[in-house]
């Protein structure tokens, strides 16, 4: 496909089932952000889901060495080669055009890919309990030991469309021997389609990894047909699945930064700005709120000045860093922001955040608001663009406002405070000092180890 041609063919995204690519009659047109048809996604009926799931269940996993090689090979292909007819650049272009995510997010996804796929096994091993071995043949089972085993055979993923980097997470499950079915988001089906295609090209069988695009009504069938599932969504989705032990819901991140008085915020301003705006500000690991001990105004002002300088560009521009949406969607988000921000002091975006590109799309410009107190409800409002709430904080307020957080960066010398934050169950990750909330590394948990959900230990003695 041509990157810039005005009259290009629509990209065909088939379902990838146990008998190979499957083109359905029920096709969903995926429009680009200007509203023009860009791709055709084959939606599968419930029967197709059920049959794919039983094929996955019947299949054996690839032997360990082979599957690790295949994952690594798929990672290299994903990042650099033509997969399913799309070069890496075509793929990036497609993601940007359809999702409006800026080019930088696809760059980051590609960077992360190789890092994760080369070390998928070693990363997974970090999560193995020290009392457990990988294989019952291990000599340690002679005197009795735990053996680390899968909790099931088939893992389903309702993939998110908010950032292409998210897909590195479920790849871990393949290293562990799971057979995997991914239901793509219609907002960005290109990344999972590319992954499953690359994995098959690299040696995974059509009955070991599958792509199952479905309409909303059929989506639950994908979860139901699997042994375990990971589902991305909003608070509603988290509530729906919170009582099911076989489903791992992935909700809003509400990541935060805390800077105490003993720290000099000017020296970590780069980190704050990056935390808010990297990944186009659309990831769960982007900072939603910054808490600062003392007067928040100077910090809010400094963040606003920095974010104001980010350019408004079409998403597929290699310099693009801000997300772009169809104009009406952008206006809706803007109205929501303005209504939410009532009672706060705007430092950036107070009059609106929509920057009309004149082609039916608009850039979502950053927003910085200062809220009156640490308990302001706005600090939990996560929006899909660089949008940050700056709040005052004091030691007397304590940990309360920092709860319910995926990644918390703390800039402080107060070790007692750090103890309390590390001990707080509703904070998933605590980063100390000059680390952005979007910091990630292979082998380090993202929201607990995914393996804690996928694996269990079993006693074995012989």
């Amino acid at each position: 496909m041509g990157g810039t041609s005005g009259t290009r063919d629509v990209v065909r995204l088939d379902a990838l089932g146990p008998a190979g690519a499957y083109r359905s009659r029920n096709v969903q047109t995926v429009n680009d952000i200007r509203g023009e048809p860009f791709a055709e996604l084959s939606l599968v009926p419930p029967l197709f889901v059920a049959r794919t799931m039983s094929a996955l269940r019947r299949a054996d996993p690839l032997p360990l060495e082979q599957r690790l090689d295949a994952i690594a090979r798929a990672g290299r292909a994903f990042a650099t080669e033509t997969v399913g007819g799309l070069s890496a650049e075509d793929y990036q272009h497609a993601v940007c055009r359809v999702s409006g995510l800026p080019w930088v997010t696809t760059e980051r996804a590609i960077e992360a890919t190789v890092r994760y796929t080369e070390h998928a096994y070693l990363s997974a091993q970090q999560a193995r309990p020290t009392g457990a071995v990988d294989d019952w043949r291990d000599p340690r089972t002679r005197s009795g030991s735990g053996v680390w085993v899968r909790r099931g055979d088939v893992f389903a993923v309702h993939a998110p469309g908010n950032t292409p980097s998210a897909h590195t997470l479920w790849l871990q499950s393949l290293a562990l021997g799971y057979r995997v079915a991914v239901r793509p988001s219609s907002r960005e089906p290109f990344s999972p389609h590319r992954w499953i295609t690359a994995l098959r090209d690299a040696g995974f069988g059509a009955d070991q990894v599958a792509l199952l695009p479905t309409d909303h009504a059929t989506a639950d069938e994908v979860v139901r047909g699997a042994d375990l599932a990971m589902v991305y969504g909003d608070d509603e989705v988290v509530r729906k699945y919170s009582s099911m032990a076989t489903v791992l819901p992935q909700g809003p991140g509400r990541s935060k930064i805390l800077i105490t008085k003993d720290a000099d915020w000017t020296s970590c301003l780069d980190t704050v700005v990056s935390s808010v705006s990297a990944h186009g500000g659309a990831a769960c690991i982007n900072t939603t709120a910054v808490f600062v001990e003392g007067d928040p105004a100077p910090l809010a002002q400094a963040i606003a000045e920095r974010l104001a300088a980010l350019p408004s560009l079409p998403p597929q521009d290699p310099k693009a860093v801000l997300p772009v949406k169809p104009l009406d969607v952008a206006r809706r988000i803007e109205r929501h922001l303005l209504a939410t921000a009532v009672g706060t002091v705007p430092w950036l975006g107070g009059d609106g955040i929509v920057d009309d590109l004149g082609d039916g799309t608009a850039v979502l410009r950053p927003a910085v608001h200062q809220v009156p107190g640490p308990d302001a409800r706005q600090t939990g409002v996560e929006l899909p663009f660089p949008c940050v709430w700056v709040a005052p904080w004091s030691p007397e307020v304590g940990v309360g406002p920092l709860r319910d957080t995926l990644a918390l960066t703390v800039v402080t010398d107060d070790e007692t405070l750090v103890d309390r934050l590390v001990g707080e169950p509703s904070i998933a990750n605590v980063y100390l000092g000059d680390r952005p909330t979007h910091w990630l590394a292979p082998g380090v948990p993202h929201d607990d180890y995914l393996e804690s959900f996928l694996m269990r230990t079993k006693a074995c003695v012989r």
């Binding site: 008998a19 009659r25 029920n26 599968v44 009926p45 029967l47 197709f48 059920a50 049959r51 039983s54």
Partner: protein, 365 residues
Amino acid sequence: MVDDIDRVLDTPIGDRPDPDEFVRAAMRWHFGPGTGSPFWLARARTLDFDPLTDVKVVDDLALFPNVCDELRDVRAEDLVPRGYGEHPDVCGFFESGGTTGRPKRVVVLRDWFLRSQEWISTNLDAHGVPRGVNWLTLLPSGPHMAGYAYPRLARDRGGHGFSIDMDPRWARRLVSAGRAEDARDYSGHLLEQARDLLRSQDVGLLAITPPLLERLAADDELTDLVRAKVKAVIWVGTHMDADTRDLLGGEVFPGVRLIGCFGSTMMMHSCAQRVTEDAGEVVFDPPSPYITFRVVDPDSGRPVAHGGRGQVVVNHVSRSFLLPNNLDRDEATRVPGPRGQVGDSLADVAPVQVFDGEAVVEGVY
């Protein structure tokens, strides 16, 4: 005495009586003081037209109001045309599924029932469905017509009927109450009974609702049993999307005939799909003039163009019953009927999402 009046009403379906003459005869029957039902005779007094003089052709049936809602409360005996005499041969008072509110009730008399069954059988012959095999039916039983008619069709065609109880209203109630898992359990309960029959008995034909057929096709043992024993599968009642049909006909049950039957208790019949070469197309032709379809824009009530989508209006006109202008719960693509048929044929039938203000719930039915 039935035979004495307006014999055109007793024409076999395949003989295609003159539709307008047929409709006029039906008006004389249903609105004649000695032959019409108490329900229609009373209802006639509140009509703003005279069925005896104003209904001259099939299209004039559109003059009637949709009386379906009244069929929820009317006394069943009052539905029986008086012309059948003191001892009418009533097959049953059958009820709608209750998808859209409280059940509606119709009467089916033997003469229509036999005519309907014979026509379905003729259609199944045209599809190459074998005679002399046993049938397994997983269809709404109890007050619903399908569970009455299909096992008898098995017998008429020289086989035996094995049937399993199905209560679609219970399944639907579970789904409406957010108890989807319980509804699945209920389907599972039905399929376990089917498993037992398929394992132990000679079953050459399966008549089943589409949701249950899909569940069955996801079960390896049941799929193998059907492949090994069953020559034809008839799916009855609700719709089935083209992708699912392709999968069932192609990879799940290769070599097994798969035939759709569109019908409902309120139609008092089910129409087997048209025999065509194109596997992707499922078209239903009604046995006109007994049953006729119109595909209309639900807002204006006017017919949509050929190829357009609209809501289905069904007329049932027989000696047994008159139910004109019944706005069905389904929508469909309007396609031309074969030569000699009055009214439209239907393709891609699918349930409308909202009907009379109540959301339509699809369960096992």
